[in-house]
Subunit: 347 residues, 2 copies
């Protein structure tokens, strides 16, 4: 039997872990334990706030490990701070659990804390309630006044860039939920892609890396930025809408992991790279004459970045195929109330 | 059939309502529509953050109207800001819905907005996801540096005060869920208490009034403060624990609504007043020589306050009964993972 603990013990456990991981932060005047936290934004800085909810069976499969759930619940939120070019400072955790299970909570906090400690983000409040498993994390970051990266700054002629590789997380999801014959969709030929391949793809799904350092390095370089949570096309479309522009993407330029190449044929790969969510890479724009600055910024934080297209006056998204043809981009990406797909959708 | 709307339409509806109710706030540099909101804390002020989750069947009965759910989801959070003496500024809303129902969402937003507009709190972000009905609201307030009311400042000899009346919300809960014979527990005699009585009690349960103005008026007067969400004894115990003191309460002094008197016998009434949650009144302490200042502050915001006891060196809570006997206070209050009661429990 799982060890059951009362609510105030749950809170005490969380509070103890929260106090240990980040060391004291002198901008936390009052943390967990009162009606609210008291926090100090440094002079000359603005506050950046984002929040995301993850529900079992919607945002992660029910067999996901508690460690991975803890990691991902924080990661998807930190990714939003990365996309703003903000430095993480504080977070709150609302944890709804079907039952009080000390082992589950311990493993969940292990994952949460592993990532929180890397970014020295302090847990300053939250709520534990009973109900179907659901996690809401709200993150707070700070940014020098005027320095935040936004979606609405893309200019005609800017180049479109993306960090890391695309499609891996969506590929990992197909490998987490094999089809009845035990094979994912579009698996390449008959050759096994090997356990290392699937491990990598699933790791990209369950433990995404928020690109915090890259977001900070892009201050005063990127003209617009978003994180790839719903899929490249869906997220770049948000930049287009907010900036009143369109874009042309070169599909041959999309950064591709060797694991994705090993596991899927080209058609499936493209679909995963253009439409798959959950990569949590940064997609950003910058003027062509800042390309060297983009590359230097990425190198300074050991991030990979790839130029994948250009901002145009014509609204909407277009793709340049391998043969040079230009076609309208298909509508892809996850939308919660349209279909049953997993996915993330910040308001 | 309920009208179904896609997720991005849901967000658009929320965004439109959010833009309309509060008027522009020049401390919101970027609201809904990017990866995160950008907010400015005024110079010389600190940030105050609190968050609470409400789940169907746990925090509110499944038959609760969407208007009341919207109101209460914000009210319980604003009450935490009130207990800190903070001025509400911004909030985020994470809404998990089993299905996309435009009429439900409209009524929910009506309730949320009705209260939000009163306090000019801006909705600056959030998330809409699919799953069992659950609402998480995170509120942000500001307070002049050093002026926040906390739980840890109660001093031996301070008087204990409470706003409004106690026990009404818990009484309303018994009236929302009548026993099989159609009568609530402990109903007084055989005389009907009248429809106005039940309406009042249920209103106190479903539409609590956060005591924001009173919290602000108590700056530099109250030595400690908490909101009554889990029940008077449970919440005053938090002040005792954080301040390393105890308290003696005069049960005859507990403020009682005429509706509570009309509906319940004395024993039930006392139990509801000492242990019932969800009143969202403020319980606070102040030195005896500030009693006139407390009364003047309450009068200035047209709030009712009642002196109900005194802080003592002896830890724990004691009750002075009507006959003058002093007894240890019973352990009452809601704890999520101990029992099946509805209740709220901020971390």
């Amino acid at each position: 039997m799982a060890e059951s603990v009362a609510e105030f013990d749950l809170i005490a456990r969380i509070r103890t872990r929260a106090a240990a991981w980040a060391g004291p932060r002198d901008d936390v005047l009052l943390g967990i334990g009162d009606d609210a936290a008291i926090l100090r934004v440094p002079d000359g800085h603005d506050l950046v706030v984002s929040t995301d909810t993850l529900n079992v069976g919607v945002h992660f499969p029910s067999h996901t490990t508690p460690f991975d759930i803890g990691w991902k619940a924080l990661a998807v939120n930190l990714s939003d701070l990365a996309a703003m070019g903000a430095t993480p400072a504080w977070c709150t955790l609302n944890l709804t659990l079907p039952e009080s299970d000390a082992a589950w909570l311990g493993a969940f906090l292990d994952g949460f804390v592993e990532l929180a400690a890397r970014h020295r983000i302090a847990l300053v409040g939250g709520d534990t309630t009973r109900g179907p498993l659901s996690i809401t994390v709200t993150v707070h970051g700070v940014v020098p006044r005027g320095a935040a990266l936004r979606r609405d700054g893309a200019q005609i002629g800017d180049e479109v860039w993306v960090s890391g590789t695309l499609g891996d997380a969506a590929a990992g999801l197909t490998r987490s939920s094999p089809s009845p014959d035990g094979r994912g969709v579009g698996v390449r030929g008959d050759s096994p892609s090997g356990p290392g391949v699937d491990d990598h793809l699933r790791s990209r799904l369950h433990r995404p890396t928020p690109r915090i350092a890259l977001g900070l390095a892009l201050h005063a370089i990127a003209s617009a930025c978003i994180d790839v949570s719903d899929g490249l096309l869906a997220d770049l479309a948000h930049i287009g809408e907010e900036s009143s522009v369109g874009a042309l993407l070169d599909v041959e330029a999309l950064p591709t992991s060797r694991e994705l190449v090993a596991a899927f044929d080209e058609i499936t790969r493209r679909r995963l790279q253009l439409g798959g969510g959950d990569d949590y890479e940064l997609c950003f724009t910058a003027p062509p004459d800042r390309a060297e600055a983009v590359l230097a910024a990425a190198k300074s934080v050991r991030a990979q970045v790839t130029r994948i297209g250009r901002i145009e006056a014509q609204l909407g998204l277009r793709l340049r195929e391998a043969d040079g043809r230009i076609v309208d981009a298909p509508v892809l990406g996850y939308r919660h109330f349209d279909a049953g797909d997993a996915g993330d959708a910040p308001a």
